[in-house]
């Protein structure tokens, strides 16, 4: 019964994607869009197969993934530690709160020129932009999760002999884990978007750069390939994070 249910969910989830592909094919087949601008999906996927086998495209994927992971990892480390610290320490909270209020709504991409000037045109500036954008959802949900930790969990741990300084690691962090992982999930999606965006703006490699190059030379097929590649990468990474989440939260209700 459980298997049929998950199979059904899979089918339900796949249906809209298939629908989009059909619509796409339809637009081309019935001549609503010229094939030079909107190539048929089959052609795009065939081209993607070719590209995936080519060394340069693989290097572009590697560059994008590296930036994405590095930026996301920095965001996770900073977001979780600042979020927890702000939740348990009033002085840290007093310092962090106004900064977050000012910086969170700021469009980070506006800082990208400054990052480029500071860090150069290579990996660093893009990693920085990814980290800056993914940081706030992770920080805010960590903070929220850590502030709503049930007082009696902490009391139970203290009474059982937990040294007060260990409560952070032994109770607050694991208890806040559901919120932290929700923040990470949002942060990961943002990372995928932002790394691509940064590469589109200024880069010499990466999937975003591949798209811009193709667009400049009106090669519609080559334009769609990196787009679909980043979607698929996002899908895979999200799946991996979901697996990790299911494992880490196996004891928590309703995951």
């Amino acid at each position: 019964m459980i298997t049929t249910r998950t199979t059904n969910e899979w089918l339900l989830g796949a249906a809209p994607i298939v629908l989009v592909l059909l619509l796409w094919q339809g637009l081309v087949s019935f001549g609503y869009a010229p094939a030079t601008l909107l190539p048929p999906p089959v052609q795009v996927f065939l081209r993607m197969g070719q590209q995936l086998a080519s060394a340069t495209f693989q290097q572009d994927i590697a560059a994008t993934l590296f930036r994405l992971f590095a930026g996301f990892a920095i965001a996770v480390v900073l977001g979780v530690s600042i979020g927890i610290a702000a939740a348990v320490s009033p002085p840290v909270n007093a310092v962090v709160r106004p900064i977050v209020r000012v910086l969170a709504p700021l469009p980070k991409v506006a800082l990208y020129p400054a990052f480029l000037l500071l860090l150069g045109f290579n990996h660093e500036s893009k990693i920085m932009l990814v980290a800056a954008d993914a940081l706030f959802p992770i920080l805010l949900s960590t903070y929220y999760g850590a502030t709503i930790v049930e007082q009696k969990l902490i009391w139970s741990a203290l009474a059982a002999g937990t040294p007060p300084r260990d409560v952070l690691w032994k109770v607050v962090l694991p208890a806040a884990m559901p919120s932290i992982l929700t923040g990470c999930r949002i942060g990961l999606v943002i990372s995928c978007i932002v790394v691509f965006l940064a590469e589109m703006i200024t880069s010499t490699d990466g999937l975003g750069h591949v798209l811009v190059t193709a667009a400049r030379t009106f090669q519609a097929v080559d334009m769609f390939v990196p787009l679909i590649t980043i979607s698929l990468l996002g899908l895979i990474l999200n799946g991996l994070l979901q697996g990790l989440r299911a494992y880490l939260l196996r004891g928590f209700p309703s995951v």
Partner: protein, 281 residues
């Protein structure tokens, strides 16, 4: 008959039971005032004095909001009183310690740990190696009747099972005093009765001191050596009643015992007479 009311003023430092045992907990003129969000001070406890002998089972009974939980938290060291002192074995209580083990109505189990992980937690904190801690945990899990459920997570257990795990987790680090705050309050009547019987059986084995908050007069009389009746606004001790019933107690026998019935009627009548409108039911 068996009911011997004692004026609150006479309580401080005076051993109350028949057996001349040492007081393990002494609460001395404790008051607790909370600052509420409406900026009016709220007196939750007013000048409470109480001493609990080692090995006694003492229940605290009173209308909702009279400060029972607050009193327990003060003894636990989770909350410090606005004035007065609470002492454990003659030493002022300044914070939580493994000598006082809480069991909360909401269970407060660690959701990220299995039953075994929860029960092992205390022994591990005390520096026991994991093999020993596990052996100790298994022993306690068996004691509360949950053998076979070691790998389960709290979310996979019923309310009664969760409360058994919570009790085992607390007993595992060997506290001298159990602080139980309406531990069976969230359970259905049948489960509640079974857990009362089991708790009594466990208690009769090693006679730990128990401070037990409850809303149920029957539960208090059934379990306790002594019932402390509190009243509201501000939280004070109204009466302390010794429950002079033989042990080991068996529910079937007690239900037919006129003394048992008498205690229940007497205590309920006292609540009726009090200024508190709300019955502790």
């Amino acid at each position: 008959m068996g009911v011997t009311p004692i004026r609150p003023g006479e309580l401080a430092g005076v051993p109350l039971g028949r057996r001349p045992a040492e007081p393990i907990i002494e609460i001395d003129h404790v008051s607790q005032v909370f600052k509420t969000s409406s900026r009016r001070d709220h007196t939750a406890l007013s000048n409470i004095s109480l001493s609990v002998e080692e090995g006694a089972f003492v229940s605290i009974l009173g209308p909702s909001g009279c400060g029972k939980s607050t009193l327990l938290y003060i003894v636990g060291g989770f909350v410090s009183p606005t004035s007065g002192t609470a002492k454990m074995k003659g030493k002022p209580i300044t914070g939580p310690g493994t000598d006082r083990g809480p069991v909360f109505q909401e269970f407060a189990l660690f959701p990220w740990k299995s039953v075994l992980g929860n029960v092992m937690y205390g022994p591990l904190q005390q520096g026991m190696n994991s093999a020993k801690a596990e052996a100790r945990a298994l022993e306690l899990i068996a004691m509360v009747g949950l053998t076979g459920f070691e790998k389960f997570y709290p979310k996979e257990l019923s309310g009664g099972m969760k409360q058994r795990v919570a009790l085992a987790r607390t007993l595992a680090y060997g506290p001298e005093v159990l602080l139980m705050d309406e531990p069976f309050g969230a359970l259905d009547a049948h489960t509640r009765t079974r857990l009362q019987n089991d708790l009594l059986e466990i208690w009769e084995r090693d006679r730990k001191t128990v401070l037990f908050v409850t809303h149920s007069v029957e539960e208090a009389v059934f379990l306790s050596d002594k019932v402390v009746m509190m009243s509201r606004s501000p939280g004070r001790i109204r009466e302390v009643i010794d429950i002079d019933l033989p042990r080991p107690r068996r529910r079937e026998e007690l239900l037919l015992d006129p003394r048992y019935q008498n205690y229940i009627v007497e205590i309920e009548r006292m609540f009726d007479d009090s200024g508190d409108n709300e019955l502790p039911s």
